[in-house]
Amino acid sequence: MIIPPKNFMELYKFLPQTNCKKCGKPSCMAFALELLKGTVKIEECTPLIEESKYKTGYNKLKELLEGEEGIKKELKINIDNEKCDACGICIIACPVNARYCYSILSGKTPDYPPDKHQLFLIKQGKCELLNLEHCRRLATEGRERECRICETYCPREAIKIEYN
């Protein structure tokens, strides 16, 4: 089971935003970042529990971080091969591919058989997803977890990032 990543600004919205430093962090924003990483718990922010006006925010945070009734969601990258015209933009644009396959830097097809980190592969005019575990949304932390490069740059809108 894989926990879906979140935007730390989304978490910050529901914090008191007073920068009281009771949690030991310099600001509420820093606390939100730590929350996203999972190094602190929500309860460490004492005003959230003690003061009644923050109750809705506390409930919302709990829902966001722990999921509905404890069910965790799984990341899926759906590729619609009816729409795909195998232009290879996803291969070239993907930052994970670029880090491990040298020939991608000059816009060339990566070597075959593919590197174990490679995410996408164009074979017989169709786009295939190789292994999801190295995707930025799972293997990295912080802002990099919000990566949606393949989805935004696909000119045919064939790639969809979903959680279910």
Partner: protein, 440 residues
């Protein structure tokens, strides 16, 4: 196959030289990295659309015949013709193009390629002022602004943007983030979906590109103020941003597409565009603008090079008494005025490409078709001679869109021992020689 497995693809004029072909078993291949256009070229081998044996039209129906009979009939038609036209050649190798020019010289014909109604127009406009070109490698490594003018890259050449815009070249290591895309077109085409936040999309009113170029020229020359209502349907602010990019970027590449080739109301937009590029390149000391001529067929640039080096003229080549003569005719006017009695069409679908009135006149005279697929021309041709697919079943030289020669490779053998284009034309030329000797 394992050692030298990267082959060039002959699907379009990009000629991607990084396609990986892996042999699974006898006639099954895994093709990695090719787009749908390239895959279609590979699948053409076994498709229903493939022509596998010669055909001759008898009683208004195409009849399958033997090679000897088909060649015999071809020689007879060519010998009986006084004013033949040869057309096509942009989907054949350079060797075939050279043989075709030699054949035209032998039979006193008129020869022209698809380039004459396509990117040859840019070269014609550039004859007065010259043109700044750029190679693909330089675009990948150095370009920072990419302009698609009247050209839908996503649909016509699918892999172009992944090579040009998304690649991380030697001096542009952040890739897409550092490169700016500007699209100028009359409608919102499929390429618009690639645009990011700092990119620019200019939707011009149809036939008004020339107005936009003129106003840009005036601003660059005399620093005049922009009209408040904008020009050619484009906002004042957008033109301002466009001119900032043009004057301050390091390496700008303009991809000239089919949309800009048409002569508009106030003149030829290509000439004006080349003028504008000349002015900016003289003014701008930090960078330069280069152009790329985007054709669809994979060896469109080849005919220009071969014809220029062999005969000294790249379009509208008319032979008389085996010598080149000056003519004002082009392929369209030649057909329109019915100034021909036989047409030899090689590797193209002329009937579908030309306007219908021209096609009708073309069908009124005998047609010899040399091709590997059943196109519109196949159904009206009098003699059909099949050939191998260049780039897959036979090798040859081809020029990429940036006029860089690339050697196409032979990957597999053709079915039924079909000759390639070059061998077939060679056969026809040698038979013509033989017949001449016999009749003497």
């Amino acid at each position: 196959m394992n050692e030298d497995k990267r082959v060039p693809c002959s699907g379009c004029s990009l000629l991607c030289d990084d396609i990986i072909v892996i042999e699974k078993d006898k006639s099954n291949y895994d093709i990695i990295g090719a787009c749908l256009k390239g895959i279609q070229k590979f699948e053409q081998r076994n498709s229903k659309n493939r022509i596998l044996s010669p055909y001759i039209r008898q009683n208004n129906e195409l009849v399958k015949v033997e090679w000897d009979e088909a060649i015999k009939k071809t020689i007879k038609l060519i010998k009986g013709s006084l004013n033949p036209i040869l057309y096509g050649f942009s989907t054949t190798s350079c060797e075939t193009q050279l043989k075709a020019i030699k054949l035209a010289q032998k039979i006193n014909g008129f020869i022209d390629s698809n380039s004459t109604i396509c990117q040859g127009k840019v070269l014609n406009s550039a004859k007065k002022k010259g043109i700044t070109t750029i190679t693909l490698t330089e675009i990948i490594n150095k370009s920072d602004v990419i302009i698609l003018w009247g050209f839908n890259a996503v649909e016509s050449i699918p892999r172009l943007l992944s090579k040009v815009l998304f690649s991380r070249g030697k001096f542009r290591l952040t890739g897409r983030e550092i490169k700016t895309l500007i699209i100028i077109d009359t409608y919102k085409n499929a390429s618009f979906k690639v645009l990011g936040t700092k990119d620019l999309a200019l939707i011009v009113e149809p036939d008004k590109d020339i107005d936009l170029i003129k106003i840009l020229k005036k601003i660059c020359k005399n620093n005049i103020k922009l009209p408040n209502e904008g020009t050619a349907g484009i906002d004042k602010e957008d033109i301002k941003r466009f001119i900032t990019y043009l004057l301050n970027s390091e390496n700008i590449v303009i991809f000239i597409g089919q949309g800009l080739l048409k002569i508009q109301k106030d003149g030829n937009p290509l000439e004006k565009l080349l003028d504008l590029i000349d002015i900016i390149n003289n003014k701008n000391k930090n960078g330069r603008i280069s152009t790329v001529m985007m054709g669809g067929h994979y060896n469109m640039a080849g005919f220009e090079h071969i014809a220029l080096s062999y005969i000294g003229k790249n379009q509208n080549i008319q032979f008389q008494n085996r010598k080149l003569i000056q003519t004002k005719m082009n392929i369209i006017s030649k057909i329109k005025e019915r100034d021909f009695d036989l047409s030899i069409i090689v590797g193209t679908d002329a009937i579908s490409h030309f306007p219908s009135e021209i096609s009708k006149i073309l069908t009124s005279r005998p047609i010899i078709l040399i091709d590997n697929r059943k196109s519109g021309t196949y159904f009206v041709a009098d003699i059909v001679l099949p050939t191998a697919i260049t780039g897959i079943e036979s090798e040859g030289l081809a020029f990429r869109f940036d006029h860089v020669p690339i050697k196409l490779k032979k990957i597999m053998n053709p079915p039924n021992d079909i000759p390639n284009d070059e061998e077939l034309l060679d056969k026809i030329i040698s038979k013509l020689d033989k017949n001449n000797v016999n009749s003497d």
